[in-house]
Symmetry: D2
Subunit: 292 residues, 4 copies
């Protein structure tokens, strides 16, 4: 017999994740008001209290909550308390979600459930780096008055997004310079046909770039750096949390800078949803869960 998935709340990505999961599972969804179109093979449930049968698996949103009380459910008029989901799941059921805070995790585990935060899965981060990098390329195409071809672009950092973005931009004909701290990161960047600058040399001299993508979540593009930069350079900050650009100082120099957050959901909501579904499928396979 097919296992049952209950998808609760979240944004459009949840619906696409549900759609993908419905290829293998019996999928119910709740937390979306009537004007949101739900694919036919997914059963849309008005209110969480209408659920009569407990599901095998729950899919909660990313982040699951912003106040630690109610689930994140922007497309739902009603609030959905976090603890209301407990009664929707079978004994020893599994809960999936993104950015699950420790208290909630403990709450669920004490109820006898397994809890998986897919943001902790490295393959999720890798897959998600693709729509992020595409979103960054889109911004470049929209903002630059020149072609990416033959442009001079700096990428700071050499993590997942930087690697994929560097490949995309060099493929499109840009000259990409990578700035990173570790010797072997620079060696890898060179093998991927990039020029390199050790991070320790970044502030030593003046630079001329058409565009800079920062991926390091620390103040790298600071006053000293910006002062030595051409003012028609465009800066895109892809780093989360503290960010890596002194935006107000950049602005005072006439340097345009954009803090681009949440790109995967914006640039490719369908793919973002599928990536969630694929990560969940990997977790279930590793657990040896039968999927029929």
């Amino acid at each position: 017999m097919q296992k049952t998935f209950l998808v609760i709340g979240g944004d459009l990505r949840q619906i696409y994740a549900a759609g993908k999961l419905s290829e293998k599972f019996n999928v119910y969804i709740t937390g979306f008001d009537k004007n949101i179109i739900i694919p036919e093979n997914i059963k849309n449930i008005d209110r969480i209290t209408d659920i009569t049968q407990r599901a095998d698996y729950l899919l909660l949103p990313t982040p699951i909550s912003s106040d630690n009380i109610n689930l994140n459910a922007p497309f739902c008029k009603n609030t959905i308390p976090i603890n209301s989901v407990i009664s929707c799941l079978k004994e020893k059921g599994i809960i999936f979600g993104g950015k699950i805070n420790p208290e909630t995790k403990t709450l669920f585990e004490n109820s006898g459930f397994w809890v998986y935060d897919y943001l902790d899965r490295e393959e999720f981060s890798v897959m998600n780096a693709v729509p992020t990098a595409e979103g960054a390329v889109q911004i470049a195409l929209e903002e630059l008055p020149t072609t990416i071809y033959h442009s001079e672009i700096l990428i700071t950092g050499w993590g997942r997004i930087a690697k994929i973005l560097a490949h995309m931009l060099t493929s499109l004909g840009a000259t990409v310079t990578v700035c990173a701290r570790k010797c072997y990161d620079l060696t890898w960047a060179e093998i991927q046909k990039c020029k390199t600058i050790p991070l320790s040399d970044l502030h030593k001299s003046s630079h001329h770039f058409d565009m800079i993508f920062n991926t390091i979540p620390a103040m790298i593009l600071d006053k000293q750096f910006l002062q030595n930069l051409n003012s028609d350079c465009l800066i895109i900050d892809l780093a989360s949390k503290p960010g890596g650009v002194d935006f107000s100082f950049a602005s005072s120099l006439g340097i345009k800078s954009i803090w681009a957050l949440g790109l995967p959901g914006k640039s490719a909501p369908v793919s973002s949803g599928h990536i969630v579904a694929e990560t969940i499928t990997n977790i279930l396979r590793e657990r040896g869960e039968p999927n029929e």
Copy 2:
């Protein structure tokens, strides 16, 4: 002594072309009202009648005219009659422009000038295919709800734009299918890691693509083809003049289709201007004109 270039009318691309030419020539420009910013090293002349010294070379817009009477000069309040430029050029001077109609060409030649239409230069078309293809990729990134990565894309035709666009899209991870008539075009497409469909087989079966780029200026994506296509496919027509898509029928089937014209100027005006300047430089070098 530096030769003199006079740039007359046209859109923003003319200013960027003038800027590039000013690296080697003494450049005057006219046909731009005061609110348009002209780089400092270019002399902005209010009205063509203010010109006192004849130039060595003239750069006219693309297309040079829409009515065969006045120059195309969208940023100028006054009209600039085509025949008014004759008195601005030295004997045996050279006139450059895009899409020069035969009557105008004869008029200029009869006045003793050399006339070059840079649209006739193959390297101009090749260089221009890059901003066109980048503009096409931008539309794909903006319109597709999925990533280009792992999407299924059809390109009809195997000309300059198709070749460059196919390379960009496969580099970004799309599966690209090329449809063309000639055997060896398909062979080349295969070597460039594309799947292929002979044009004669395109209408035989039903197809499923996330996106289609048409580059053939003939009715290829007609009723028969569209009827056998998934309705969530996005069609972008890059072909000029007659176009290659039955837009109204596509619309009746709920298939979104966009006729994307003039992409180089829109997506990368600076690069487009530079391409004009570079083509002119090539012509002058081939003529053995001294550039100092």
Copy 3:
């Protein structure tokens, strides 16, 4: 009913072509002595005179003959006169071969046969450029004491082989410079991430390269050029007929140069045979020949 193919003479590529054709046709082969292994689904006929049934199609070798009297059949002790094949073919049958001289063509046509030289097919030349380029890369890997990665390589010409070879070498991390005559060839080379030198500038200055591949069948790498070249440069001439290198002068300067001919057959005999078969299949499809 399956059509019948008779394959006569030639080198190992003929056997691989026969093998590929046997997927669709009833294939007989002759011109190979007993110690040559022939795939099981191909009927090996000892002598051409043993053939009792006329075939629908004949496949002759490349080049079909070196003396215009007997077929080229290096693996056969007996000679096979060209005119002996006439009695092996049905009325209005089709003869395929490579480098068919005009007299032989006339002889066959006068016997009522269709004659196709697959060397005239552009897709054949394109497909064949792949094993040629791979053979060139192999020589580079064997001869260079450095990696291809980070090496400086010159390619003269921008035909089929040059384009594919340039792509392979830049992918492997070499810096490739392309030297060609036409403006737009240089533009294409640039788009493919190569540096460029106009042919007219090649002799003006001295050069330093780790390796040079010549693809132009004219004396390009002459005394003047070689004198201005570093002596540890390796030269590989891929051009047929007159070749493009002053080999004896290069040798006198201590410059190693290799004339690499017939690479497809040497580096990838199986693929070379398949390319012949695929070209024939294309010709038959264009003629509308049924293949069952």
Copy 4:
């Protein structure tokens, strides 16, 4: 004043490393008999006992010794005892070498020297993966009767060599399948345009490949796997130490397999030497050593 480097023993790579180091340092070399050509700017010293001035840095071979008594010095008639190098180095000098065994390391450190094994440096391994991968491509080109283009190749593992090799082979047009254990390694391989097989599925079914490159130092290509493989597949084992192929069983099935070790030194001795020199330069820069 320029610092002094003394290079002792080893194979040809040592000479190329010495040559590269001589661009920045005063370099002496010993351990090479007279018939070996040493570049002019390097001082060749006949016997280690002839050294009168102590060097700032020592470069020993890779591996430094095979018997823990004498240095590895295949081009030298005399033996060079390991402990004889101590008197050649200034106080607090630095010793570089490859695969330095713990006893020797202790011996040197007790003499007051800093000791660096460059095999421990990740950027060394990354850079060295390039000549290894090129050597692997060379074997493929030499051994395969088909082109790499359109061939089906399996790579086991997703370490440095596998990543670079996969990129090279897909660039050359092969269809590459990557087999690895970790989910996110497979995700990366997919992003690099490879097909993937989880390691746990490798033995479940039969496979057809033109070639297999093993990079996992464990018995992966065992009897069970080989029994389900086409017998005309070529296997190249790039894994060190235990290797990953049951060679004798493969041989009994008629499957050709090659254990390719020491590729960097064989395929590109000059580059291999330069990589050693570059790694040493990185170490010195990180230590803040002045190089003039």
